[in-house]
């Protein structure tokens, strides 16, 4: 089936035929994915501080221009537990490090551990924020439409879409369960150990509730012809201008170049 641009179809409401507007948000989702892939590879493959810091600078500048800095801040905050773990482990346990900052009984934090930990954190932040920027500047259905247009199967597309949408739905459900458990006398506030005791009674209903819904969701999808053969009709196709395509190909080329340069030792 040929893909018909939605805007050309009479009768399609404006709120369906809409195209995203604003800096970076109007860029084709596939192009944003390619740029994010380049940023992730650059952050991890380019040695030293240059890769992660350059990527962080580009991502933060783009987010500022797209007015999405606050959202990126939330994502950065969500990485705090893993960032803290990485720093602590490297600070105290980096193999071969012999330049102690101080002696704390049996523990000896090292300068090499600190630098290596900070560099790893910078790479991780570059990775999280690059992906986060795509999430914050792309409507899920635009991304799905673009992936469908590029030939990705409907099951794969559905899995991507449902997984992305599941995050806020699960948070909402967890909130309801917290309220329900609290009304039955469970202490969900106060000291950390008290909250920790509440994790199982909260996580159980969230996880099992989601699992028991799977069968009903599967049947509901089948009742809506989800397994019909052939290609899905696309109501809206995100714009893919010449500039977007040029950026995409440039990102792909740069990604391959970085990998090749690194593999041949020319990046150090």
């Amino acid at each position: 089936m040929t893909v018909v641009p939605a805007a050309a179809e009479p009768g399609l409401p404006d709120y369906v035929a809409r195209q995203p507007s604003g800096f970076y948000r109007s860029i084709n989702p596939g192009t944003k994915l390619a740029v994010a892939a380049l940023e992730v590879v650059a952050a991890f493959v380019v040695p030293g501080w240059v890769g992660p810091l350059l990527v962080l600078a580009v991502v933060l500048a783009t987010a500022a221009a797209a007015r999405r800095l606050r959202g990126l801040g939330t994502i950065a905050l969500a990485t705090t537990p893993i960032v803290g773990s990485i720093l602590l482990i490297n600070l105290f346990l980096l193999p071969g490090a012999s330049d102690p900052i101080a002696r704390l009984g049996p523990l000896a934090p090292t300068w090499s551990g600190l630098w290596f930990g900070l560099q790893t954190v910078a790479r991780l932040m570059a990775f999280s924020l690059a992906i986060g920027l795509v999430y914050l500047t792309t409507a899920v259905d635009d991304l799905l439409s673009d992936l469908a247009r590029r030939g990705l199967g409907r099951r794969a597309i559905f899995v991507v879409g449902a997984a992305v949408q599941m995050v806020p739905a699960t948070i909402e459900r967890a909130g309801e369960i917290v309220e329900a458990q609290r009304s039955r006398g469970m202490d969900t506030e106060g000291r950390i150990w008290r909250r920790a005791r509440g994790v199982l009674p909260l996580a159980g209903p969230v996880v099992f509730g989601a699992l028991t819904e799977v069968e009903e969701r599967t049947m509901a999808l089948e009742a809506r012809a989800f397994s019909a053969p052939g290609r899905q009709t696309l109501l809206r196709v995100p714009a893919d201008r010449a500039a977007h395509r040029a950026i995409r190909w440039a990102a792909v080329f740069a990604l391959v170049a970085i990998v090749v340069l690194r593999a041949t030792g020319r990046l150090g």
């Binding site: 369906v16 409907r154 009903e216 969701r217 049947m219």
Partner: protein
Amino acid sequence: MAIELSGVRYRYAGASAPALAAIDLRLEPGRVVGVAGANESGKSTLCLVAAGLAPGVIGGRLDGSVRIDGLETRAMRPHELAQHCGLLFQNAATQLSNTTATVFEEVAFGPCNLGLPVAEVVERVWWALRAVGVGDLAPRDPARLSGGQGQLVALASVLALRPRYLVLDEPTSELDPAGTRLVAEALARIARETGVGILLVEHKTDVLAQIADEVVVLDRGTVGLWGPAAAGLADPRLVELGVEPPAAVRLERAVRASGLEWSAALAEAIE
């Protein structure tokens, strides 16, 4: 033209006893057949079997014959069944795709799966939304609807596939009285104006009294009672079968039991 179940016996995979035993049932276009029964009487199983999803999608063993417009459901694939018989469950949240930004796109999900031209998808979506009476919800986010609105959108989503029959498994069980009234009115309108046949499983017998032409009461996987809605819902055996009669029937019995006279005018006023 009808959904016909003849000598149907169905057992879930791994179950020792059948959930349905020797069921005969017929649903014609434009008719509403209400199904009631105690818990575990086989109502939900009947829905899955009548819509062809059991055993096609969920497995199990089916004996007897289930035909939709003369076609054996076992010989049909799920997307073919969906165009003959729509199925709606209790929980609106589990029936929406969770991948769309507006109600319009949610209702378009099924027709889009069929690969129909965009113009036809648009036409079907507006038809389904208007048939259910929720055209004004089209621009809304499906995740931000009330329970009743969500159920109506789920109903429109199934209708957009243009099935000749609808099988509804307790579509009002999670709704408040206002939501229940919305859905019941929509179902009555669909049956009246579109000629779709509806098999409606419902605990709320007041809803059945309002819109059903016939009533079937299931009893441990068998048909315990089957007849015209008015007579069936007033049948004294209803309570024994674990079904609460409609409020009007209970009121009439209470009036008679207290020695007062029950008049046709009073019955009409209650209706």
